[in-house]
């Protein structure tokens, strides 16, 4: 009971002293470094860059800022397999997170972020000769800095453009591609011989993550 009353008191206090909440919209690139050799199936290098579209809602605790983020992330990596066909991995999903930033300077706000989400990995070999979609949750932790640049100089409530650079780690369970089957653009005739799945094995996608994005904070 006492803890509950304490939380209510603090929250009421923050509301009493807070400025109007900030909303930010962001676009950027989120890249994961995957060093496992199995990733060479789809990559000529170890970087898996994906587009990130996000939105955040800022809370104003007594110290710093707490951004509640949500984002859609999507990317594709492909390469040639055994000089014969293309192998492609699409990874798209949603993530939510909480980012705590501290306004160290007018143009510098270091932050720490924790996030979680859900990804769909689509492995396609030979443009549909074999394909499978596997979904997994993930978790991530980032440290970085935001550099806000106000568009006008009339006060702290003015809109600003924010450069965001963060580095951390994303932890994912292995993507088990155990049932790749042919996928064709048009439906197969009803009496086609059924296809049996091919087991490709498991792909590890955990690794160092860094993001570079541009946000509009209003």
């Amino acid at each position: 009971m006492n803890r509950f009353l304490l939380c209510v008191t603090l929250f009421s206090s923050s509301l009493a002293h807070a400025e109007l909440p900030n909303v930010s919209l962001s676009v950027g690139a989120q890249t994961q470094v995957v060093t496992g050799r199995d990733f060479d199936l789809v990559g000529n290098d170890d970087h898996f860059m994906r587009l990130r579209l996000g939105a955040a809602y800022a809370l104003h605790p007594p110290v710093g800022r707490l951004d509640l983020e949500a984002a859609y992330v999507d990317g594709l990596k492909s390469s040639t397999l055994h000089q014969a066909m293309k192998a492609q991995l699409g990874l798209r999903g949603f993530e939510v997170g909480a980012l705590y930033r501290y306004p160290l300077h007018r143009h510098l706000e270091p932050y720490a972020r924790l996030g979680t989400g859900y990804d769909w990995g689509v492995l396609v070999v030979g443009e549909g000769r074999l394909e499978e979609t596997v979904a997994n949750p993930f978790g991530s932790a980032l440290f970085g800095a935001q550099l806000p640049m106000q568009l006008a100089d009339r006060g702290t409530k003015d809109p600003s453009v924010v450069f965001d650079l963060g580095v951390g780690y994303t932890l994912r369970p292995e993507y088990a591609f155990h049932r790749l089957t042919p996928k064709t653009a048009s439906p197969l005739p009803p009496d086609s011989v059924p296809n049996q799945a091919v087991d490709f094995g498991s792909l590890g996608l955990s690794g160092i993550t860094y993001r570079l994005q541009l946000a509009l904070r209003i």
Partner: protein, 504 residues
């Protein structure tokens, strides 16, 4: 702060990484190998064997040594022997298709091929003269490897012949205390006991009597009791009968006889089981087949005149031999025990027959037939009625085909022949006894057929993909809905391959 950001950027830039070699090289799997219950595809570039069991949901994989170059199934077992390793560190991988386990044996040489005895107990590894290895400055082609598939012992044996390279490996009858093996070379034969590879081989050089020129060994056969080795050689119309006399603690001694008086020796074949010691010789010059006494004491034990061009003999049914000529239409059945014969002229040139000895049937495939038979491809079913006391009555029944039979497999136990025409998607089942036909059309052209007797499943291999493409179907039901197609199964386990930079 800026310095830290710069260093961080450098770290990220230099951690780009490059693509390793796991997925960059083209892959060329070795041909499919069948055991009684599974199919095995060896992918040398990926160091992997893909094992297909018809009743499992997906193919399994087994890791192999690098440099796999040939895969051979071991008769009477679920093992597949793979010659692998480098020229300096050769190995033999024995893959158990039922469990997926692999036993790796160091090999005494980087051999090119392996031959197994009919019971699968002994394997003989030899070189092929035409398969040079640029990384080796020299090779002794007179050395062989002897593999005991029960004890997994692999032993080197030096044959010390005067010839350059082996041509064929011939296995004697399976005995409790010995397994005689003859390795033929161009100028002779080397005989050894696989159960005692430490004993020096017995060398038998071949030379025509009174002739200065050497003869090359064309064919060799052990007699049913292992007492004789019969050899057919070039420039010789006589059959060379090598009598093997047991010697305590050593390889049998060999004494050489030249037997037979016909002209144009083209084939030798063992007589029917239970016959006295002898050999069947086929002569195209004197147009006869002769049952020769191995000792040379009796002139001929039996003899039959043949039509022109008949040049080959095969055991047929009971005491009967089948005599025919690839490329000619005549077929003769000869009962060696009582001398009765029967012959027929088929409607087209012959290929090598598919024999169903237990049912007394021989099937010949024709690409074209005579105009009276329609002119197109056909399958001739040859059989013999031996109820008449003084002759054999030969029967020929014809199965018309849409395309020449290109892929073929058989199940001797049930008397069934499976085949598919050239560029055809249809697989046909022929019950040899009743000549009942059934067929199923698959989704791609059939290039090769395998029958897995332990599972009763037919595997039709398609040539649409270098990574493997086949259909598994039950030939008793031929239901497409219950069949299974496996495409690109050679890519199984692609994500679970060991990193070549870490694996020795």
């Amino acid at each position: 702060m800026m310095r830290s950001l710069f260093l961080l950027g450098l770290f990220l830039a230099f951690s780009c990484g490059t693509r390793g070699a796991l997925y960059t090289a083209p892959i060329q799997p070795l041909g499919l190998v069948a055991t009684s219950s599974a199919l095995v595809l060896v992918v040398p570039e990926n160091r992997r064997a893909v094992i297909i069991h018809p009743d499992e949901p997906a193919p399994r994989t087994a890791s192999l040594s690098e440099g796999a170059r040939i895969a051979v199934s071991v008769p009477g077992s679920e093992l597949v022997a793979v010659l692998a390793g480098s020229s300096k560190s050769p190995v033999v991988d024995l893959v158990d298709a039922s469990s997926g386990s692999v036993i790796t044996l160091p090999s005494p040489g980087a051999f090119d091929t392996i031959h197994f005895s009919p019971n699968g107990r002994i394997g003989v590894l030899t070189y092929l003269a035409g398969k040079t290895k640029p990384e080796l400055a020299a090779r002794n082609l007179n050395e062989v490897g002897v593999l005991d598939a029960e004890t997994f012992a692999l032993t080197r044996l030096q044959l010390d012949t005067e010839s350059l390279s082996p041509r064929a490996v011939v296995f004697g009858p399976s005995e409790d205390s010995r397994q005689l093996i003859a390795v033929t070379f161009e100028r002779g034969v080397a005989i050894f006991d696989a159960f005692r590879p430490g004993l020096p081989a017995r060398r038998v050089p071949i030379r025509a009597p009174g002739g200065a020129e050497d003869s090359s060994v064309l064919e060799a056969l052990f007699s049913e009791n292992g007492r004789w080795l019969f050899i057919r050689a070039s420039r010789l119309d006589e059959v060379i009968a090598v009598e093997l006399t047991s010697v305590e603690g050593a390889i049998p001694a060999a004494s050489v006889n030249f037997i037979g008086s016909g002209r144009g020796l083209t084939d030798i074949e063992l007589p029917p089981p239970g016959s006295p010691e002898g050999i069947i010789a086929v002569y195209t010059g004197s147009q006869e087949a002769v049952f020769l006494d191995a000792t040379g004491i009796a002139e001929n034990l039996a003899q039959v005149s043949l039509p022109p061009k008949v040049s080959s003999a095969r055991p047929f049914s009971g005491s009967q031999l089948l005599l025919f000529a690839p490329g000619a239409p005549e077929v003769v059945a000869w009962n060696v025990a009582d001398g009765r014969t029967g012959s027929a002229k088929l409607e087209g040139a012959l290929s090598q027959p598919a024999l169903f000895s237990g049912m007394g049937r021989a099937l010949f495939s024709h690409s074209t037939t005579t105009p009276s038979a329609g002119g197109g491809p056909a399958l001739s079913v040859f059989s013999v009625d031996d109820s008449a006391p003084n002759r054999l009555r030969a029967y020929v029944q014809s199965i018309q085909l849409r395309a020449p039979a290109a892929a073929q497999a058989s199940d001797e136990a049930s008397g069934t022949l499976f085949f598919a025409g050239r560029d055809e998607q249809t697989v046909v089942t022929l019950k040899v006894r009743s000549l009942e036909l059934s067929e199923a059309t698959l989704d791609a052209d059939v290039a090769e057929l395998f029958f897995l007797p332990a599972r009763g499943i037919l595997a039709a291999v398609h040539s649409t993909s270098a990574f493997g493409d086949l259909t598994l179907i039950d030939p008793d039901r031929f239901d497409r809905a219950e069949a299974k197609r496996l495409r690109d199964f050679g890519l199984s386990g692609e994500l679970d391959r060991p990193n070549p930079e870490l694996v020795p």
